[in-house]
């Protein structure tokens, strides 16, 4: 068990393993995502309330879902960084943060564009959108702090602390935003909660969520490899690896 844990912390080992897994992650993820999107766009039935604009759900929900879970993953990695000082964990935080920021932005953007035909306005200050916006700010803070500190080790630790502070804060932010929202009259437009979604709708949704997860895994591996090359540039194996062409 500890042997495995130790191995997992070795960047060189991870680099090789990642190389082996990445094609699978990429192609499987791409197939699932595209399958889900094509199904959702062209074959899923029309929503009786919102019409065709609901088809945005097949990209909006995966982005929003992933945006939130990536932050949780980063927080877990942050704990591992601070407690066990595992190298790979802080690499993950650094590699995932920009991806999470982009996904949050995509969730916000698709939400806004979806809102126009549904609510008649691009943006309302309701609890869910506002929390998402704050999540974007948190992500950007992590990205900026990471690139502002040039020393790699202290940058990783500082970022881990910030992620943890953020994750403790997220529930507080969420509840205070919801309270704020009820204080000012709740949004007049509300998405009708449907008790059950027909399978023709949720299966493609599930596919695209899974696909995006796998693609995120691929992106995270790729970016972690880059971070490893930077961090370990003075080691023998990276020098050998780079001078033999870097593949």
């Amino acid at each position: 068990m500890w042997q495995f844990f130790h191995k997992l912390g070795s960047p060189k080992w991870f680099y090789g393993i990642a190389n082996r897994f990445m094609p699978w992650l990429f192609w499987l993820g791409l197939a699932l995502l595209l399958g889900g999107l094509v199904w959702g766009l062209a074959f899923a039935p029309k929503d009786y309330l919102q019409g065709n604009s609901y088809r945005i759900i097949f990209i909006h929900v995966p982005s929003a879902f992933l945006a939130q879970s990536v932050y949780v993953m980063m927080a877990v990695a942050g704990v591992v960084t601070l407690v066990w000082r595992m190298k790979l964990a802080d690499l993950f935080v650094k590699a995932a943060a920009p991806v999470g920021a982009v996904l949050t932005f995509l969730a916000l953007f698709t939400g806004a564009v979806w809102g126009k035909p549904t609510w008649g306005t691009w943006w309302i200050w309701d609890a869910r959108l506002t929390s998402m916006l704050i999540l974007l700010f948190l992500y950007l803070g992590v990205v900026f702090l990471g690139s502002a500190i040039s020393d790699e080790k202290s940058s990783a630790r500082a970022v881990a602390v910030l992620v943890l502070v953020g994750v403790v804060n997220i529930p507080i932010i969420k509840y205070s935003v919801e309270w704020w929202n009820t204080l000012h009259q709740p949004a007049t437009f509300k998405l009708t909660e449907k008790p059950s979604m027909p399978a023709e709708m949720w299966v493609p949704l599930l596919l695209s969520v899974l696909g995006l997860y796998l693609l995120f895994g691929w992106l995270a591996c790729l970016r972690m490899q880059t971070e490893i090359l930077i961090r370990e540039r003075r080691t023998r194996w990276v020098k050998d690896f780079v001078s033999t062409g870097g593949h």
Binding site: T121, W122, W123, I124, W125, L133, F137, L140, F144, H184
Partner: protein, 240 residues
Amino acid sequence: MTARQPGVALVTAQVGTASAMWTVVRRDLKSSFRQRQDLLNPLLFFFMVVTLFPLGVSPEVSFLQRSGSGILWVAALLATLLSLDHLFRHDFDDGTLEQMVLQPQPLFLLVLAKTLAHWLVTGLPLILLAPVLGIMLHLEGNSIAVLCLTLLIGTPVLSLIGAIGAALTLGLRAGGVLLSLLIIPLYIPVLIFGTGTVAAAADGTPVGGYLALMAAFLVLAITLAPFAAAAALRISLSNS
């Protein structure tokens, strides 16, 4: 007294002021784009400050529509203020500023070039982001257009006036805070007319007069502020 003796080969060739200014602008832009994060900081700050108002006051559409232009202007002003500390600080720290003062070209024009570069990387992005925030604050299309126009005229004034403050507080320990205290009072007229123009547009009154007045501010700032900033730079360098 013989001014020129055979031994010394004096330099007579000269580089034109315009090309020297261009060199300054290019170097500053290049430097800024190598440190992209510094470009995004004021922009993000702008966004966040705007977000605080619906959260802190009210998310009601009627309130946001009424005060949206004021919120955006105040946020843009604060974001500019935040970025001003960088205007001369890096150059001061690495000695580029000394070299600039020792250039044969008039210093105030070089300061103008630096301010232009500063505006291109801070003021201009704010204007580009403003429509998005305007939509989020439920401003009307016409108001957003006028708002962007006032920002286009107003933010260079903010940069120019700010350059004076940045030059004066250069090399001081509490420079950042002091800079705000010095500069905010000077920003008030621009703020008043910036938001006033948008309010007039929302009421449907013609805004040509307001815009002309703001343009007059801009002309005044372009002609006077670089002199003041150049003088302040000499003083700050003399003390270091």
